[in-house]
Assembly symmetry: C2
Homo-oligomer: 143 residues x 2
Amino acid sequence: MHNITRMKIEKPVGDVFEAFVDPSKIGGFWFSSSSERWEEGKVITLRYDEYEAQGDIKIKEIDLNEKIVFHWGTNEEGNKVTIILNELGHSESIIEITEEGFNENDENIISVMLDNKEGWVYMLTCLKGYLEYGVHLRASLIH
Amino acid sequence: MHNITRMKIEKPVGDVFEAFVDPSKIGGFWFSSSSERWEEGKVITLRYDEYEAQGDIKIKEIDLNEKIVFHWGTNEEGNKVTIILNELGHSESIIEITEEGFNENDENIISVMLDNKEGWVYMLTCLKGYLEYGVHLRASLIH
């Protein structure tokens, strides 16, 4: 089972790519901080200061301005997330995020999938606001 | 089965309420147009110009600045949507949207619920951007 979410962003793919890999930018739309620049093979610590929470991701693959693949957690056992960027013309991108690895037999599978979908749609809309207008909309979804 | 989505918006409840009921505002964050001011008992036509689509809703209940209840469709057989506004202090609101009426026996229930969740999270984040910063983020989620 997997969740796919897609958003059109009126910015070049390079801007969308940098928003994820540059640790000075993630606080504008998603986590409050990222421990260092995302590069293949690295383990990155992501913090959510507002929820006093943090977690690690393991970067599996990076193709400049095209693709980022990571797993939640420090090894490759957590769910896999694939971020694909497509240039849609001058200064317009489509970003597609797929998360896979959900357990179909989990008795709470529907609520797990819904919470996951909620997170991705919210982050992508915050990313759109941040890149297109420089506004910060993160950390206001109440679970 | 139901979907609940909650968002904190840094504006008074009156502003959030008006964004829904005033037909000059809905185009900033959700549908492209609303046929008239939302009032109890009315059938309102909502248009999505970008998708050349339109649909009706039947307004079941309106409590000024507090609550809006409607059903999708012209009667009360469609899913029921309840919008609750809570003032969280000076110029801060919590908006909670519940949609109920999903058929648990639908073989596509998971994808129906996920699509529905996607729509509410996206709309609420667009609403936050519109009310707090006057930015338009709607009509860019790709299904």
